[in-house]
């Protein structure tokens, strides 16, 4: 594929950014949830 570096690069940047954002959110949630009771988790 011509210009594969640019094309694959754009997909890697996109998926990588989403993945990093998701992982950091879930990690932060897990850390904060340790001291929070289920009563405060209004979505449960």
């Amino acid at each position: 594929m011509k210009d594969a570096g640019f094309i694959f690069g754009s997909y890697i940047v996109t998926l990588g950014a989403i993945l990093m954002f998701a992982v950091s959110t879930l990690r932060r949630a897990k850390k904060s949830a340790q001291s929070v009771t289920d009563k405060d988790k209004t979505w449960l």
Partner: protein
């Protein structure tokens, strides 16, 4: 919404799990179709494949910023000033900034292949950069000192002003002479000039990115609630600990 294993994700529910699985499936299709199945463009050749991630990420960034403004207006208008509105606004802005960053990076890669330049100060690129910087400013405002109410009030005002930039960004290619091409799908005459599989893949991208946006915002705003509760509990625990010290002395 029923509970999923709190071990794996304290902010997850069956609904977010379903949205997540669906988002993964649609995104897998977009990647496969965008990279392998869709044809080359008659003029741009292979570089057109960047469009399937660049355009949806721009649209979802707009959507995120509009959602931030709506939630901010909700906070300002509602009598109870529910902090849920504020958390949704903040979460949506964070996700929007991420999608805007993706738009700028993928756009500059695409620009290098088509225009021959990574960046030019043309109307579309300049207004997009300005929008990106504005929302980084919005996120900075949210981290200023003060109570959660002060945070909500300040950021809601900024969000309602910042969202006015979006029409300027979108119509910049019509209002001024731009190097960036005009809108293909959202053009004023409604005549979409794109091959069927290309168009279907582009719309799949919009659907996939929207699902990702919903999943991220739900998790992010719940995480924000957990952080707020944990912060308050930290204060409560400190007070209890201080009181407990009294009789011991």
């Amino acid at each position: 919404m029923s509970q999923v294993s709190q071990e794996t994700s304290p902010t997850g529910t069956r609904a977010t799990q379903a949205i997540g699985v669906l988002a993964l499936a649609v995104m897998a299709w977009v990647v496969a179709s965008g990279l392998l199945l869709t044809p080359q463009d008659v003029v741009q050749g292979e570089s057109v494949r960047i469009m399937y991630v660049h355009v949806p990420s721009a649209w979802i960034a707009y959507l995120a910023f509009v959602f931030t403004a709506v939630a901010s207006a909700g906070w300002l208008i509602s009598k109870k000033h529910s902090m849920g509105f504020d958390r949704f606004a903040g979460a949506s802005a964070e996700v929007g900034v991420m999608f805007m960053a993706i738009t700028l990076i993928t756009g500059s890669l695409w620009g290098r292949l088509t225009w021959g330049e990574f960046w030019q100060w043309d109307p579309r690129l300049t207004t997009t950069a300005f929008l990106f910087v504005t929302y980084i400013g919005y996120l900075a405002v949210r981290r200023l000192e003060g109570s959660v109410e002060q945070r909500a009030r300040r950021s809601a005002v900024v969000a309602l002003l910042a969202v006015l930039e979006i029409p300027l960004v979108h119509f910049s290619v019509v209002l001024w002479r731009s190097l960036h091409q005009g809108a293909t799908v959202l053009n004023p005459n409604g005549d979409v000039k794109m091959d069927d599989l290309m168009l279907f893949t582009l719309f799949s991208g919009v659907v996939g990115f929207t699902l990702v946006f919903i999943w991220l915002v739900l998790h992010r705003q719940r995480t924000m609630l957990l952080v707020d509760v944990a912060d308050n509990q930290g204060l409560d625990l400190a007070i209890v600990a201080r009181r407990a010290e009294g009789p011991a002395n």
